[in-house]
Symmetry: none
Subunit: 253 residues, 2 copies
DNA sequence: ACTCTAGGTAAGTCTATACAACCCCATCAA
DNA sequence: TTGATGGGGTTGTATAGACTTACCTAGAGT
């Protein structure tokens, strides 16, 4: 067990390709720790070796270990309590609140496999409520798409979008098996303004079926409107099973 | 000009209200620097005294000065270049997204009349899950409070909080009929860091009763953790009926 | 059951010292 | 004019050691 990988060499020859100069000791210590956390060897909430134990294991001074651990705490990787020890912190929630991201990136960031299915792709005429959301008059033409996003074959999101034809005239001709609506719209133009509203809803029967839910489970619903040049170009309704998803965010004040 | 304010005293009396214990040396050095930047004495882009000059001026070791400057660089206050020096950084604008507000202000801003009721106020010992949220070990003592907030006699929020006794030793002695937990905690110290996670849940029977719901309506649940000095001081679980509340925000990009 | 206290443990801080890495600039030679 | 060299100043890293502060546990006493 006491192999040479347990102790950092005093001098690093380091034919490392990713870093031209050899990483400093405290960075090596950080790497040593994050590697074990990422591999699951040190699980969430478990206690890390004490500073003095790491000093013995790695053959560096306590100040060096201390700096590595202090920086890891600043990054939210571990938490520390004087007189108690150092612990693996709980990983951050997967979706940033009010941030504009592609769910495919979200899923892949969490280690899952993403797949999507197009349920509907059509042109509709807006009723009063929908027209109001677009600051238009009832009867205006809008494109309408419905997709399901899966994480490892489990439905994670119903994505329903209404898109202004003036903004994306070729929306219906896209192959959303390869390009996702989010990326397509973003590529035409990043929005100048975004509005998010989050609801809790009990899904309708058809939504339950699409999400493959057993019963009327509570769902998160994120309604997003985006503006370009002062005009609403998209309204999206994203529905997630409450048991499979959450929004979160962490920031310094 | 060479008054005693140029040298940090060995022991600080520090009648500071936000921190009962005297600030550590490196924090005093940070304060010394930020004060001069804030006052405009050291303008944007100007060069700070070198580490060795600060050592002479302030009477602390270079490692202490170095730590202060390194942390200020991490906070974006200064920039540093090896072999060159330390400079005042350009202040970066920051966008508030999901802000920290008191629900009483929320209700009154909407024209409603706010009222609250204390349901529970006690000391508990944390189980595994709760201890993890506080980055502590199971069995640690925590204060626990449950309040209901009403808007015109309609329940709008269940407010459940767990508070670290070390942060707010007198939490249980407060009269939350007049001072709300949010305000009390904020007055002790505004958090340095905040985490929000939003869930959709189906409420338990007791929660349904507290919210005076007719059936198992989907609810929004906002879980907030706040940090002070890198340590979790509060975990709040706020439950809203889905039909009566939503979270939202709009911003320019 | 509860409170108090003492001891052990672990992180937090501070110092003095040393060396390394880097930048700038003055000097000097081709 | 150009290029090389080297010195001085500045930040970056690393160490050993000492002391401080906070937390927890176990045991004694109530």
């Amino acid at each position: 067990m006491a192999s040479d990988t347990d102790t950092l060499p005093r001098r690093t020859v380091s034919p490392d390709l990713t870093a031209s100069r050899p990483a400093s000791r405290y960075e090596q210590v950080k790497h040593y720790i994050t590697e074990r956390i990422a591999s699951g060897e040190w699980g969430v909430g478990s206690r890390l070796p004490s500073e003095n134990e790491l000093v013995e294991t790695l053959g560096v001074s306590r100040m060096t270990v201390h700096r590595a651990l202090r920086e890891l705490m600043g990054e939210g990787i571990v938490t520390r309590a004087q007189g108690v020890g150092t612990f693996v912190a709980r990983p951050a929630p997967r979706a940033e609140v009010l941030e504009l991201r592609d769910i495919a990136d979200d899923i892949q960031a969490g280690g899952g496999r993403h797949r999507s299915r197009v349920v509907l792709l059509e042109t509709i005429r807006a009723d009063g409520h929908l027209a109001l959301a677009f600051d238009q008059r009832p009867g205006v033409k809008l494109f309408h798409s419905v997709l399901i996003h899966y994480e490892d074959d489990t439905p994670l999101q119903i994505e329903e979008r209404f898109v202004s034809p003036h903004f994306a005239p070729d929306y219906l001709d896209q192959d959303f098996a390869t390009t996702h609506p989010h990326r397509y719209l973003f590529q035409i133009s990043p929005p100048h303004e975004v509005e998010h509203v989050i609801f809790a809803v009990t899904p309708e029967a058809d939504q339950q079926a699409l999400l493959e839910l057993d019963g009327p489970e509570a769902c998160l619903q994120l309604v997003r409107r985006t503006w370009v040049d002062g005009r609403v170009v998209m309204r999206g309704v994203f529905t997630y099973p409450g048991s499979r998803y959450s929004f979160g965010g962490r920031r310094q004040t």
